[in-house]
């Protein structure tokens, strides 16, 4: 190869990098504009809704909250209590004790006066069998509660058991340690009931970070910005992702993922597609993709909806080790899901799902870390060869940094103008400062975890679930 061919190849490579970055930035801008529009529309639409009217209606559709629990003995009693205090009439709660090795079941029996009942599971979805069986409370005040003790089979398997047992039209799948606000079910069920010609198959909500917030009696008393920088950075990251990203995808009806921490599903469809996949670490994304695919193939009009209200608060990892293992798992989940449903990508038969959402996820979510690493390696080689055009490098580095800071600030603005959760004096300044620091505090670790995830996926297939050590929400 002579030098001119090399030069041409390098030129093309530069163009590809540049084009990718440019497209990514443009897509961010477009998505945030759409998000803004959609958020305004949402606020307008709900500014005169009196949720109180519907909460007490016995005619509202039934919802089952399914909460899988594995070794949650520390907080399970408190958490269940908070689930039982939702302001919605027609709902019940199924706690699926997924073969816990601790005394979760005993604690629940003791606290809620449970007794074993005869029950035969209609296993529309195959799951691991029951262990101690099905329990209900003797006290009518806890009539909504049902505890199912089964053999360990993982989160997806536990959720499937819940799907089999639920008699409701809708199911809300949540992490047992999430704090659901008392109006969460009413707000989340509304999109299902609002549509007339489109079937809403699932709805997801914003996940907010509860670290350092004060929770008393299952109620969020005070919202604080945590001291831990890693958690702070994640707050900013969540604001960006939920307020600027998902809202737009909801408008485009292109949501591919509903957080496993809190989502409501149309049970009929969830069962028709066979429930959660027990062979992936990304079951929350996978089921949405599968449900969408099912609806596309049936050629029915459908929607995956999204509610921007802060309804579900959960604990975020506060150590880099746990954080990395969480993101590692998310990366593998994304890879598995996209791979399993390869058929959809760039397939006009699947409409905008195949031509827009899927490709976007593949290119800008799935591939982003890989492309970034290639870019870094390439840059390193250039440095070694002393081929770097520092003027270009520096000017574009500064530009992209400025862009990312500005983007975070816009996310802060959309929070302030809508839900304004961080009310304390001084928090605004901290958030701005964080926007400047976050690219250094969080991004390198996100990238590292994603690369680890790719590595584990391809070369370390046996890798088990990352253990998310729960500290439990601060309850007093």
């Amino acid at each position: 190869m002579d030098t001119s061919t090399v030069k041409i190849i390098l030129q093309i490579l530069h163009f590809l990098f540049f084009g990718y970055a440019f497209l990514a930035i443009v897509s961010y801008i477009i998505l945030s504009i759409i998000s803004g529009k959609e958020t305004l529309e949402y606020l307008k639409k709900n500014s005169f809704v009196h949720y109180k009217d519907i909460l007490s209606s016995a005619m509202s559709p039934s919802i089952t909250i399914i909460a899988p629990a594995y070794n949650e003995s520390l907080n399970v009693v408190e958490n269940v209590r908070s689930l039982l205090s939702n302001h919605y009439v027609n709902y019940n709660v199924i706690i699926v004790n997924d073969g816990s090795k601790d005394d979760s079941l005993e604690r629940l029996i003791e606290a809620y006066d449970l007794e074993k009942i005869d029950y035969i599971v209609n296993d529309k979805i195959k799951t691991k069998p029951l262990r101690a069986g099905v329990f209900k409370s003797k006290n009518p005040a806890f009539e909504k509660l049902m505890v199912v003790d089964k053999e360990n089979g993982g989160k997806a398997d536990a959720l499937n058991m819940g799907l089999n047992i639920s008699k409701s039209k809708y199911v809300a799948c949540i992490d047992v340690d999430c704090l659901l606000l008392e109006d969460a079910l009413q707000k989340m069920i509304k999109p299902f009931l609002d549509e007339t010609d489109t079937r809403v198959i699932a709805a997801g909500g914003v996940i907010r970070i509860a670290n350092s917030c004060i929770i008393r009696g299952g109620k969020l008393i005070d919202v604080n910005l945590p001291k831990n920088l890693l958690v702070q950075s994640q707050i900013l990251e969540y604001l960006r992702a939920f307020l600027l990203g998902r809202m737009a995808w909801s408008r485009l009806n292109g949501l591919l993922v509903i957080s496993g921490a809190f989502g409501i599903f149309d049970k009929e469809i969830a069962i028709a597609v066979g429930g959660y996949d027990t062979n992936t670490v990304g079951e929350d994304m996978e089921i949405i993709v599968r449900m969408r695919r099912y609806m596309e193939e049936k050629n029915e009009k459908y929607r995956v909806s999204y509610i921007p209200d802060p309804l579900c608060w959960t604990e975020a990892p506060d150590s880099y080790k746990i954080f990395i293992s969480q993101r590692n798992r998310w990366t593998r989940g994304t890879i598995e899901t996209l791979k399993k449903h390869r058929k959809i990508g760039f397939n006009p038969k699947y409409g905008s799902f195949g031509m827009l959402s899927y490709p976007y996820w593949l290119i800008f979510e799935r591939m982003a870390p890989i492309i970034e690493v290639i870019g870094l390696i390439y840059f390193a080689i250039l440095v070694i060869l002393q081929e770097v055009k520092w003027e270009y490098a520096l000017s574009f580095l500064v530009l992209s940094y400025m862009f990312s800071v500005l983007f975070s600030i816009i996310a802060i603005y959309s929070e302030e103008l809508t839900f304004h959760q961080y009310k304390k004096k001084g928090t605004g300044f901290k958030l701005v400062l964080l926007s400047a620091l976050e690219p250094f505090l969080l991004h390198p670790f996100v990238l590292y975890a994603a690369i680890r995830g790719n590595f584990d996926y391809f070369f370390n297939k046996k890798k088990k679930w990352g253990n998310m050590v729960r500290k439990g929400l601060a309850t007093t």
């Binding site: 909460l55 007490s56 209606s57 016995a58 005619m59 209590r81 908070s82 039982l84 205090s85 302001h87 009439v89 006290n139 009518p140 005040a141 806890f142 009539e143 008392e182 009696g217 299952g218 109620k219």
Partner: protein, 124 residues
């Protein structure tokens, strides 16, 4: 002076009822949710409990079951409920509530019922 614990999460309404009942000569203890209510009941051993059914964290039903089963007290209990909660009202009666008022209600009627429950107790 007769003591009443009132558990209601609508602040304007509870303020209104407080004024109304204090005018009748009762001492009122106000709770915003079921948890506060049970604490007040344990601390003051009231002569009457008025509770809303739908309340955050600990519902009115649980307050009733707490009073009747855990504390084993037979203090008269009046529950408030909204339309469409008939089932809950039945449960409340099963747990041992003495009377109920469906929202919206007239505060004057509440006063009459309060008086009635308190005098019945006095006779027995």
């Amino acid at each position: 002076m007769k003591k009443i614990v009132l558990a209601e999460d609508n602040t304007t309404l509870s303020l209104l009822l407080k004024f109304r009942l204090e005018k009748e000569g009762y001492t009122l203890f106000m709770a915003k949710d079921g948890k506060e209510a049970t604490e007040l009941i344990e601390a003051h051993e009231p002569d009457l409990i008025i509770t809303d059914i739908m309340m955050p964290f600990i519902s009115g039903l649980e307050v009733i079951s707490h009073v009747r089963i855990k504390l084993d007290m037979d203090t008269p209990i009046i529950v408030f409920s909204a339309a469409g909660q008939e089932e809950m009202v039945l449960k409340a009666f099963n747990l041992g509530a003495n009377d109920f008022m469906g929202k919206p209600f007239s505060p004057n009627e509440l006063v009459i019922r309060v008086k009635r429950l308190l005098t019945v107790v006095a006779i027995s």
